[in-house]
Every structure is written in structure tokens, then in C-alpha cells.
């Protein structure tokens, strides 16, 4: 459903809603996968991101997102310099992630590492600042950043979804959508849960305390 505020907005640093605002949001999501500013980042640009990204500030926008800057933060312009000062070593490479229409022309693969955590995601900027994360650690997902989201990997045991739903309900979190994907039957399940309110830190701790949950992260809403 189109909203007036989607049309009169977002407020953003230019010059391109897809190459700048959307790219920044993808960086913010990658940051949340390691729950903070990464200690290193590999950013592989595909298609139009690789071709015209520099002129559009896509490089600055993604690194700015990794630093926690939102799309309307004027520090995005100086994000590369700030990253060097704050000790975020980043590497850019050009890559081919596949062919259209399977892979969107504005796609990127971001690998981030912090402390013992290392994750890789593939995402695309779809235009007008909208994004879609299509893959996390090799699992197919569909995260658009328009809701607060919990992503987790759990052993595929019977009753796991019921336990998770019960735990979220006990913590006062209302589930909007829940999707589960597996690489193969009996393999680990990748679970993406979109929720109405930002879950408290306790929710993540409770989920991680379940013995069959390998890891769980909260991805904050990054706008439409």
C-alpha cells in the first residue's frame, strides 16, 4: 500500500534513492548481523552498483550504514574517512552475482566480521530506497527492512517454532510474519521473524539460551 509519506520522503542524503539511501540501508542490516560496527568488511558490488556506484556515493553509503549512519545522516559524505579513523577496514571488489532477472542490477554481497561473528549477506536496492536482502549465510531469505526482524538459525527439531512463538509471546512481542527455510531436509533451519515492535535485548538473550538455537540476531527496521 502506497503511503503519502513514502512519496514525500524519505529525507535522505543524495544523489540517488537506490544507489545511496538503499545502499546505506543494506549496510545497516549487515551491521546488525554482527550487532555493531564490524572489525572488517568485504563489499562486493554487482551490476550497476559496480559500474556507477562511485559517482553515486554507493561506496560511502554502504560503509556509512556499516558505521550505523542512517540514510539522512550527512556524515555519509565522509563515511570512508570516518571508517578509517574508527578502525573499520573495508575492501571493495567488483563481482558478478548472476544474471538478470534472478539478480537485481543493484546488488551487493557484504561479508562482515566482529569478535567471533562472521556473516555474509546478499541484498539489492530496488529503487526509491526500498531494499531486499535475499540471502544470509547461504540461506535464502526475504528481508526488506520495513519491520523489526529477528533472524536465527536453529536445529530443525519438532516443536521449535511453537517454542519460539511461545517465548516471543511471553516477552510481549507480536509476530507479523514468520518464514523458515532449510538448505536440505533435516538440516538447520533459517528463521526470519518480522515483529511489530522492536524486541528488547532480553528477547535475543532468551532465544539464544534455547539449546538448539545456533545464533539469533535482531535487525532493526531501516525504513520502507
Amino acid at each position: 500500500m502506497v503511503s503519502i509519506l513514502d512519496i514525500i520522503g524519505p529525507v535522505m542524503v543524495g544523489p540517488s534513492s537506490s544507489h545511496t539511501a538503499g545502499a546505506c540501508r543494506l549496510g545497516l542490516i549487515a551491521r546488525d548481523l554482527v550487532a555493531g560496527t564490524p572489525e572488517s568488511a568485504l563489499i562486493e558490488l554487482h551490476g550497476s552498483f559496480a559500474r556507477t556506484g562511485e559517482g553515486h556515493g554507493t561506496d560511502k553509503a554502504i560503509v556509512g550504514g556499516l558505521l550505523g549512519f542512517r540514510p539522512d545522516d550527512e556524515r555519509l559524505r565522509d563515511a570512508l574517512t570516518i571508517a578509517e579513523k574508527e578502525g573499520l577496514p573495508y575492501t571493495f571488489e567488483k563481482t558478478t552475482l548472476g544474471t538478470e532477472p534472478e539478480v537485481h542490477p543493484n546488488s551487493v554481497r557484504i561479508t562482515v566480521q566482529r569478535e567471533h561473528r562472521k556473516h555474509t549477506m546478499v541484498g539489492a536496492s530496488l529503487g526509491a530506497g526500498r531494499i531486499k536482502v535475499s540471502e544470509i549465510d547461504g540461506y535464502p531469505v526475504d528481508v526488506d527492512g520495513s519491520s523489526h526482524t529477528i533472524v536465527m538459525v536453529a536445529e530443525d527439531i519438532k516443536g521449535s517454532i511453537a517454542r519460539i512463538a511461545g517465548l516471543l509471546s511471553d516477552d510481549g512481542v507480536n509476530i507479523a510474519t514468520l518464514r523458515l527455510s532449510r538448505k536440505h531436509r533435516g538440516g538447520d533451519a533459517f528463521i526470519v521473524i518480522e515483529v511489530d515492535e522492536r524486541p528488547a535485548d532480553k528477547v535475543g538473550a532468551d532465544l539464544r539460551a534455547l539449546p538448539w538455537v545456533r545464533w539469533s540476531h535482531r535487525i532493526d527496521k531501516v525504513g520502507g
Binding site: 503519502i4 509519506l5 544523489p15 550527512e74
Partner: protein, 292 residues
């Protein structure tokens, strides 16, 4: 939100209220959010638009490639042409200002997109200043513009990559024309004619940025888009009616966009981007960005 302007106009007329009123009511219902809080968000957008205009008029901004910047200031202080001292020149100046800020990685409101962000603030703030329009009415105008943009998004597209520049600066011209017409006291039906008059003037407009950067011709196309909006406002306020309804003009824009060759949809494969000079400038400037 409404899926057609005709439906919105009918509702507004039946109740004797503005399109801004019906748009805010539907938005409130759709989003489960109070009208007051929507107005506050639009008020924040208005403040950002104003700031971008002021920032752009200082004239010391350059884009990443150096292809654009400093031209808004020329309209502010440079020699006068035949339209010196007029609202027209003032609006052109504001459109260039916002778009130069955008190209220099400044903060703008993507309304409807970053590439078309200059038109709406130029027209609303330019007319608003001349007619001393208060902020509450400017916020109403943004709501009306949002309604028009939402209808365009639903029926056609707001993306240059999908529909060419007619879907960006063209849609922005329609939004600005309709919103300003209502702000000046035009009826809902006159708003419809203003939208149709503006968008008929941008049908077929291609998206052909040099090197794929939102710079050239984008900055200037915001100024000419704003000029088309002014023409549409003047005609609609004079009572001129455009025979093809706005919804059908918007549908036509969508149809042309879908038929448009990919070279003319933001790929820098055709149009001005593919001219000998366009190719040379893009090559030189992109090399310069990489060195910087």
C-alpha cells in the same frame, strides 16, 4: 490510498473539502496513525526542503564528478534575462538549488525521488514566498502532492529505471502543479486539470544521465520540470480544462514507460548520455572520481 484521482476528486467535491483533507484521512486510516502525526512528518519534510534550497543557493557545492553545481547561484545573482525578478526565475533557481545539493550528497527529501527532488520544493516554496502562504497550508499542499504521487505510483511508475524521466521529473511536475493549484484556492477538479496539463507536457521524456550519475541533465530537468508545472498551474487557475482526465494521462505515461527502450531508462545507453560529448564527459569525470 486512492487508486485514482477521479475517485479522490469525487469524494472531496461531495463533501466540499480539499484533496489534502481526504488524502490525510485515508492516510491516517491506512497507516493507523493520527492526522496530527502525519502533518508533523510532512512539516519535517518541509523544513528539510527549505534548508536544501538555502544551502543550494550559496553556490559553493560541487557534485562528485564536478559536472554540476553553482548554477542556482547564477540565477540568484547573475545577469537578468527577460524574466528577471519574476516568480518564474525564482522557481527555476530553487529547483536547481535543491538538485545541486542532491548531487553534492547533501540532505534532500526524495519527493517523489531523489532525481526529481527539486521540482516540488521549488514550486511550493517559490509560490509560497510570493503569496505569503503559511506552513499549515504548505503542509496541506504536500499532502495533496503525496496523494497525486501515490496515484502515479499505483497506475504508472515513479522510477526512471522503469519509466524514464517522465516518471520522475514528469511525475514531480504533476504533483507540484496539482498541489500548488489547491494551495492557490483551486477546486479539486482544477487540481485534476493541473495534473493532466503538467504530465501531458512531459510524456515521453527519457532518462539519460551522463555516466548514470544523477547530475546532467537531471539538475536542469528539474528546472524545466518546474517550469512545466508553472505553466500547468497558470492554465488550470484560469479555468482551462484538459479534455483527457488526469488518470488517463498518468496511464499513458505508464504505457509509454513500459514501451520505452532500456537505453532511455537510466542506463546511460542512449539520449544525451550517448552523445559524443556525453560519453567523453562521463569517461573523464568517472576517472576523476576514482582518482579522488
Amino acid at each position: 490510498m486512492y487508486l485514482s484521482l477521479a475517485e479522490a476528486i469525487k469524494d472531496a467535491e461531495a463533501r466540499g473539502v480539499t484533496l489534502a483533507t481526504v488524502a490525510l484521512e485515508i492516510e491516517s486510516r491506512d497507516q493507523g496513525r493520527s492526522i496530527e502525526s502525519i502533518r508533523e512528518a510532512l512539516g519535517r519534510a518541509l523544513a528539510v526542503m527549505r534548508h536544501a534550497v538555502e544551502q543550494g543557493l550559496t553556490g559553493d557545492l560541487r557534485s562528485a564528478s564536478g559536472l554540476v553545481g553553482g548554477d542556482a547561484a547564477k540565477l540568484r545573482t547573475g545577469p537578468g534575462g527577460p524574466l528577471a525578478g519574476t516568480l518564474f526565475r525564482d522557481v527555476l533557481m530553487r529547483a536547481l538549488a535543491v538538485q545541486e545539493v542532491n548531487a553534492a550528497m547533501g540532505v534532500i527529501v526524495a519527493a517523489p525521488t531523489a532525481g526529481g527532488a527539486g521540482v516540488l520544493p521549488a514550486v511550493l516554496l517559490g509560490i509560497g514566498k510570493q503569496k505569503q502562504v503559511d506552513d499549515a497550508r504548505l503542509v496541506d499542499a504536500l499532502a495533496t502532492a503525496g496523494l497525486i504521487g501515490a496515484v502515479v505510483a499505483h497506475r504508472a511508475s515513479l522510477s526512471g529505471a522503469e519509466g524514464g524521466c517522465q516518471a520522475e521529473t514528469g511525475a514531480a511536475a504533476g504533483m507540484a502543479a496539482g498541489a500548488a493549484t489547491e494551495m492557490l484556492g483551486g477546486t479539486p477538479a482544477q487540481v485534476g486539470h493541473a495534473v493532466a496539463l503538467a504530465q501531458q507536457g512531459t510524456l515521453g521524456l527519457v532518462c539519460d544521465p551522463l555516466g548514470g550519475l544523477v547530475e546532467l541533465p537531471c539538475v536542469f530537468r528539474n528546472a524545466t520540470g518546474a517550469a512545466i508545472a508553472l505553466a500547468a498551474i497558470e492554465m488550470a487557475m484560469a479555468g482551462i480544462e484538459f479534455a483527457i482526465p488526469a488518470d488517463e494521462v498518468i496511464d499513458t505515461m505508464g504505457e509509454i514507460g513500459r514501451e520505452m527502450d532500456v537505453r532511455y531508462r537510466e542506463t546511460a545507453g542512449g539520449g544525451l548520455a550517448a552523445t559524443p560529448t556525453g560519453r567523453r564527459l562521463a569517461r573523464e569525470r568517472l576517472t576523476q572520481i576514482k582518482r579522488a
